[in-house]
Each structure stands twice: as C-alpha cells, then as structure tokens.
Amino acid sequence: MKLQADLFPYPVLSSVTDDYIGSSFSTKWREKKVSSDQLNLEVAFTLDDSGLRNLIKNKRAVYAVHVEGISSSYRKLFPVEGNKDKIIISIDPSEVGGDIEMNMVIMACKEIGSYQNKNFNPEFYDSDYKVASLDKGDILAFCPYEKLTLGVSNKDKPSVESMMRVSATKGKFMVVDTDGDVIYIRLPEQTHKLYKLLSKSSKGQEQLLMVTIVLPALSHVISEVQRGEDFEDKEWYSALQDKLKKLNYGEESFMQEDAMKIAQVLLGCPLDNAFEMFYNERGEFDEGKN
C-alpha cells in the first residue's frame, strides 16, 4: 500500500510531508540470505523527535514493518518489541512468490488521548493544537514504501521483449491488453495469420512489424502508465520498471518524456534501420540513387 500524507486527518511525520518542523524519521534496511528457505530483512529505525520517542518509551507507540505481496496473498505486520530501534524479519521466500512492498512506520499500539507535539509545523497548527485521540494502529510516522523482489516466481522475470505477446482476436480492431502478467497485442484473426507468416519470413520484415505493431502498442502502454493507471501487480510492469532504471529513467524524467520516444528507446530504436533492412532485402534500396 502506498501511504499518502495528504490523507491523514492529523499531523504525521514523514519526509514527504511538512507537518513537523525540526523532526525526522528514516530507516535503513538490507536483505541477507540465510538459507534457501530463509531470508532476513534487517531494518534499523532512526527517529529525531522527542514527543514520538516518549510515546515509544512509554509503550504507547511502536516501530513496525508491514510486508505485503504485490500480487500474492502474503501480508504480515512485524511490530518491534521493547525499546529497540531495529528488527530482523525472517521470511521464507517460497511463501511470498514475487515482489513485496514494505512500509516502515511508527504506529499507536494503544489508544492515545490528546496527543500534542512541540514540533507540529506552526504554519499549519496553532501552538495549542492537540490531536483529540488516536486509535490503536493509527500511523504517526512513515517512510516512503520500498519495493523488493524477494520470493521465487513461477517464471523467469520477463524482459521488455518477452513481456509482450502477439495473439489473435475475433474482434475487428487491434487491441492492447494490459490486464495480465504479460501484455497481449491482439490482432484480428486474419491479420494475425499474416503477422505470423511475415515475422518468420525475413529479418527486415520482422523489424518492420516491430515498428508498425509492437512500437505503437508499447507507446500506448507507456502513456497509460504516465497517466497514473495502476499496474503494480503485473509482472510486465515490474520488467518495465527494471528496464527504465537501467536506462537511467527516474520518475520525473519518465513522466516528462514523450511516450513514443521512451518506447523507441526501450525497443532499441527499431526505426533506425528497419526500412533500410526491408528494402535491402528486396534489392530496391540504393542510398546514392535515392
């Protein structure tokens, strides 16, 4: 789950919100493989806020790590016991199956009446502002969530090329189906038959099909991701994120770049020589004459 600072009806301490001034909450974590069926997540919490620290000391709040499978049913909450500021979580990767999300939080572990903190941002909260009451489980501080590939998937992680398939549909129009773990480009039946023949006939024709079929489909998918559609539980999305990272696309640069350009980069710029290759195979291209 992605915690959103603006949903909280009370001040919450996080690097993504300025409800607090002069306070901070951060975590460091690492994974350590112990055996084939045990992976340890070692998480250390760093808190700079006396008010929250007192709540933890008085056992009214606690550090915790929430682990959730993105496309599996795995879900567990690991509160930190005692006054410790670190925890080692043991997970059997075979129980998890795929990517996980981790949220590191400080939460109330019992009802807290009338919570006040001198570090509430005076721009938003008066000096006598109090949170009337907090229930058990209410989040008081959080770090932006982390994603980790932990478990054993049933399949190899798809590459950008392998995350797309071309198949047939009885419909009249080409459709890009993003609902599964693989993106399906569905072509009308007769078109699909011809596609299969052409894709096997020559390298030039195969490259042209990449440009005319795969490239616009991938561009469409990237546009949907940029529009904010939620594909986090899809394996193709995970492969796409990996590839974008390797190409040094950060979140900002990805959102600002043209989707068609990103698609071309992901596919290795197929336009560069697709048409030349096609015409060369037909013996019709001569750079000097044309």
């Binding site: 789950m1 959730e68 599996s72 049933n154 198949s167 009885k170 609902d179």
Partner: protein, 259 residues
C-alpha cells in the same frame, strides 16, 4: 481416489494463452472433451508431480443451487486444503486441474454461460487474463478453493463453514471478485470480520445484501487503512467498523424499522 497434482508447463501455458482465441476457445465453447483431454495428456504440456491428493468429482448439475456450490467448495477444500497459498495462486496449477480432473465441471459451467460476452467469459474462466488476484476469483475451480481459504471459520466449532454458506447463498461470483480482490483480505481475520458484519446486518433485518455491501465494506476499510495499520485490528474490531458505518454508505438497501 488418490491422484497426482498436475501443472501445465511454462512453455505450454504461454502458448495456450497467446493462441487461446484462435486455437482453443472453440474446444471449450463446444465442450470438446476428447480433444481437450488429448492436449492435456501430452507430457510436454502437463507435468504430473509427486504430490498426491484425494480427488473427489465436483457436482456439475444444478450449480445455481447454493447447496451444490457449498458441497463443491467442501469437496475442493477436502481434496486440496494442504496447498500453501503461494501454490494455490499458481495459474499453472488451475489451468491443468480444470482441464483434467475437473473438466466435466468446468465445461458444464462454461455451457451455462449466457450468450452475452460468452467468448470473453470462457477465456476469463479458463486462463488468468484479469490480473492475478481477480483471476483467482473468476476461474471456475480456483474460486472454490479461495472462498474456502478465506472464509472457513476455525473459531466456530459448531459449523466452520457458516460464513462460506452465507457468502454463496446468493449470486456470489460478482461479490467474490469485488470483495476478495482487495489487499486487506489477505489478512484472514479482517475478511472474516467483514463478512460476519454483513451477515449480522442482514440477519438483524437492517439491510438486504447486495454487491455494494461488499464493495462499500472494502472502501470503508481501505479508507481506514490509509491512516491505520489494519493488521492490528482484531476480527471483532473490523466487524464493528463495518457494522457502524456500512448502512450510511451509498446504494445499500437499508431496511426501515416497522412503525
């Protein structure tokens, strides 16, 4: 009857899904059992494991009757309750099982589909093409296992299936997709708390259950979950949140008190 658990191979599953509309849809649409059995008896396509299970055939007739659904859920659970959740999430498992041991039931279910969007429904109930979590509750066989997994109430010594029986009492498929696709139901005590709340509200004659009972309950807990760690709630606390808030949400069929 002891049988081996089966999975389809990765290669076959990939090809099966890519070419489904072109090569396999008609087989399932026309109930071509012989040809499906031929394809799924090919050892290149289907792998038999060394894990045995106690196979019980599912009842294929009168499946609109909730007592039949409950019996089928109990049969699947009796046969396959030993599966770990990560195993029961596997498309490879259910595609193999539906086209082998449970083929009669699967084909009968497909034959009973209405004419609207029949091809789409056949695809959705045979292969996973609606996202991993949703697909588990659309597939004809996996939906039975997963309803049992989430709603068996081990705290009720009289009848641990009481919430299962309640849930499938009306048309449950839509409710299953709407409710169980939500992330928080992975915590079983939350799922039990919500369904128990809805059950009690209907038994107390405060509302008539409909699709919104489940989708709105999801929204309530998702809203709460935006600021609170739901996993810290007990089953009774989750139930109380739903009972205290559900009747005030939209499209709920609230029953007015008799004057």
């Amino acid at each position: 009857m002891k049988e081996r658990i089966k999975y389809v191979s990765d290669t076959f599953l990939d090809q099966f899904k890519v070419d489904f509309e072109e090569e396999y849809l008609e087989l399932y649409k026309l109930g071509n059992k012989k040809e499906i059995e031929r394809i799924f008896s090919n050892p290149q396509n289907v792998i038999e494991t060394d894990t045995f299970f106690d196979f019980k055939p599912l009842i294929s007739n009168n499946t609109a009757d909730s007592t039949v659904t409950i019996e089928n859920i109990k049969s699947i659970w009796s046969s396959l309750s030993f599966l770990a959740p990560v195993e029961a999430e596997s498309e490879k498992l259910w595609v193999a099982m539906e086209s082998t041991y449970y083929l009669d039931y699967h084909l009968k279910q497909l034959a009973e589909l209405g004419p609207q969007r029949k091809d789409t429904s056949i695809m959705s109930r045979t292969i996973f093409n609606n996202g991993q979590k949703r697909s588990l509750f659309i597939n004809n066989i996996s939906i039975l296992w997963w309803i049992a997994y989430y709603l068996i109430d081990d705290d009720n010594s009289n009848d641990k299936f009481h919430l299962v029986e309640y849930f499938v009492n009306n048309s449950y498929r839509g409710n299953a997709v709407a409710f169980f696709s939500s992330n928080f139901v992975a915590n079983k005590k939350l799922a039990l708390g919500v369904v128990e709340a809805i059950k009690e509200l209907t038994e107390e004659h405060k509302m008539i259950e409909n699709r919104y009972s489940y989708s709105n309950a999801n929204k309530i807990l998702n809203q709460v979950g935006g600021v609170r760690m739901l996993d810290l709630l007990t089953r009774d606390e989750a139930k109380a949140i739903i009972k205290n808030n559900l009747l005030d949400t939209e499209h709920i069929r609230v029953l007015k008190k008799a004057i």
